[in-house]
């Protein structure tokens, strides 16, 4: 049994980096003094002055449960080291590939972790409705107010109350390509959807297939295709209709959705375009998303739409840069004037309100933590207190630019906002069947039918 749901989110990459508020700003960190616990920085070891706000819980433990494993998990553990040393709070980190199901079981079983990183606002909402998630403490709320945009705050809130502070972020509206290949063949990075299609035709005309894709991902198979649809919805139907669709204010089989899916089909179901390096259209369904872009390196494939975190999937030794082996360009919209951006991120939810838990929560929402974590590498937050100088690799910088762009219209991954039965169920399955040969209308009718009534 497999299942790495949502590997995609493990890669937090981009963020809105605003003003460079350096480490001094940690003074805005939450005051847990109201708990009557925190007193005295005197107890802090030398060199820990920055952690004064989190003092007073030495010797306590906080359990943390996430979907992030392997190397990125090590980076998280590393990012807590100083905090742990200074405050005496031990953070027990556990990453699981069965995160969604396991979190459900733990919470239902009365065994909830103190803190969970939840990548789906939809899932967060469900736990809130079940009365399991604590409202954020004052300090965290202040941090979110200060460092995050209204939209991000909204994603962590239910009925106007903030339950989880945002943390990492990533950008999904990217097309990966090989800059050197493009130069050699004289291709230009397209700036509108029409140009993109024209480029695809041009490559197809040269006897090669332009696109490679793969949506296999254990029992989360299908999610890359849902990202495609979401990106297209933003482009063909616009952000407002997108919001209505995500909130089920228009049916899932609305004409606007049909149009968007067919626009995806014009690429993914076009035998002339796909599946470079792997076979025919249906091979998309069995190609793992990790492998899907690799034919670009061998010159077999030219275009691969995948999020910023795909940077981690290239084989060791691949240079990811604008003048390197591979890089990404923004998936263009119908005109250069509109710039919708699809992205995702994690939210820090607490299932306990002990003072040490709240301290960790507040620390994670601080600009100081964002900088510490970003410096370790391959991670970006939408925290505006994040210093741009700490973001070193080019794709993360591009993500930052994309998100910072005033004209860009950011939207959260729709399947993460929908009820899990759709967003982590029928939508994935439906798109897999669609790739496998099913008709658009029939698939969308099926998904519409599966939308939970309550």
């Amino acid at each position: 049994m497999t299942a790495r749901p949502l590997n995609r989110r493990r890669r937090a990459a981009a963020g809105i980096v605003g003003l460079a508020l350096a480490a001094t700003a940690c003074g805005t960190g939450g005051s847990t003094a109201s708990e009557g616990e925190a007193d005295a920085d005197a107890s802090l070891p030398a060199g820990c002055e920055d952690y004064a706000d989190y003092a007073g819980s030495s010797g306590t433990e906080v359990s943390m449960y996430t979907s992030i494993r392997d190397i990125e998990a090590d980076r998280y553990v590393q990012s807590f080291e100083e905090f742990e040393k200074c405050t005496g709070i031990t953070i027990n980190y556990e990453g699981s590939g069965e995160f969604e199901a396991q979190l459900n079981v733990k919470v239902q079983g009365g065994n909830a972790p103190d803190i969970a990183f939840i990548p789906q606002p939809g899932l967060l909402q469900r736990f809130v409705q079940a009365g399991k998630v604590m409202e954020v403490p004052e300090g965290t709320a202040e941090n979110v107010e200060e460092f995050w945009s209204e939209a991000w705050k909204e994603y962590g809130s239910v009925d106007g109350k903030l339950y989880a502070a945002p943390m990492g972020a990533n950008v999904k509206s990217y097309v990966w390509y090989s800059p050197s290949q493009f130069e050699e063949a004289g291709y230009e990075v397209p700036t509108t959807l029409d140009e993109l299609m024209a480029l695809s035709d041009e490559i197809a005309g040269s006897g090669k297939k332009p696109w490679c894709a793969g949506i296999e991902s254990g029992d989360a198979t299908g999610w890359p295709a849902t990202d495609w649809v979401e990106d297209m919805m933003l482009r063909t139907a616009g952000a407002e209709t997108y919001d209505q669709w995500v909130n089920h204010e228009i049916p899932f089989n609305d004409d606007a959705v049909v149009e968007a899916v067919d626009a995806v089909g014009a690429i993914l179901k076009n035998e002339k375009y796909v599946n470079a390096g792997f076979g025919d259209v249906r091979s998309i369904a069995t190609t793992s998303f990790q492998d899907a872009g690799t034919p670009i390196l061998e010159g077999e494939c030219f275009l691969h739409r995948q999020a910023s975190f795909y940077a981690n999937q290239w084989p060791e030794g691949t240079t990811v840069a604008e003048d390197g082996d591979v890089f990404a360009f923004y998936l263009p919209s119908e005109s250069e004037d509109s710039k919708p951006v699809l992205g995702g991120g994690e939210f820090v939810a607490a299932f306990a309100d002990r003072p040490e838990v709240q301290k960790v929560q507040t620390y994670l929402s601080s600009d100081e933590y964002a900088n510490t974590k970003a410096e370790i590498g391959d991670w970006i937050s939408a925290n505006t207190g994040l210093d741009v100088a700490n973001v070193k690799n080019p794709i993360d910088q591009l993500s930052v630019e994309t998100l910072q762009d005033e004209s860009a219209e950011f939207r959260f991954d729709g399947s993460d906002l929908m009820p899990a039965a759709v967003g982590a169920g029928s939508f994935w399955n439906g798109m897999t069947e669609w790739i496998n040969g099913a008709e658009t209308k029939q698939v969308l009718d099926g998904i519409e039918e599966s939308w939970p009534s309550s």
């Binding site: 049994m1 497999t2 079940a130 091979s283 169920g425 029928s426 099926g446 309550s454």
Partner: protein, 322 residues
Amino acid sequence: MNETQPKLLMLMYGIIAFFAVVGILLLVVDRAPKRGREKVQLVAFLAPALLLLAVGLLIPAIRTVILSFKGPFSDTWVGLDNYAWMFTNGDSRRILLNTAAWVVLVPTLATTVGLLYAIVIDKARGEAFAKALVFMPMAISLVGASIIWKFVYTVRPADDNQIGLANQLLVLVGLEPYRFLQDPPWNTLFLIVILIWIQAGFAMVILSAAIKAVSADVIEAARLDGVNAWQMFRNVTLPSIRPAVVVVMVTITITTLKAFDIVRTTTGGQFETGVVATALYDQAFVFGEVGKGSALAVLLFVLVLPIVVYQVGVLRSQREIR
């Protein structure tokens, strides 16, 4: 390796606990006062098991039935809504059909293959060796077996080298590579093959032993009557091993209904391969639809019920005879 020590310590504690529990139980039974001794002994022997069964299975089963009449957060009563949903939504039909295919095909085919092999092997040399090979998949976890077969079914484009055995064979005889796991409804059949592969060995070993246990006198007598091989099988062997066949089929059926590892590891329930057990897990744990998940669990329970009722009938007649 400083992680090893606490684990080994825990292992030791476990074993010590085992001896402590067993020792105390036997001691209680030994030292029981004369009056009511029988009762004390009965309780000491039976109570621990019954307690664990109640906690681990009986109470959860009752709770599940109750939850199946409630909403997703178990705080509202919804009557039969979850059951209605189960039989009306589009995916369910596929899931129920698939489950039916599994329950019908795995026990019958595994038993048939096992029986045929048991008969053949009865007359073959190198019996033990051949048996061990066919029996071996039984020891492999369903996850391991799924990985093995996923590898067998792997497909590559027609002009590439195939790395999966099944498609290599197709290519060898001049056919196009086939997507074994991707084409409903046939993909369910190819998944069923995996469980048959595992269970046929079990059926074979049990039935083979049963065949050997058929009284030599009976066989001798039949042979003197001049019956041919088929008649021998039909009229002598089969009736003698019928109870064994039934038990094998029942055991395999129960295994089949519960097994969801294969579907989850190979296709994750995609490509219309979902079964009740995978849908149950998704609804209850992934989608947070506890009510619907519970209703599916009850369905699973009801599906096995006829088998248990039948088996209970057999058991009761046995116990009465004794």
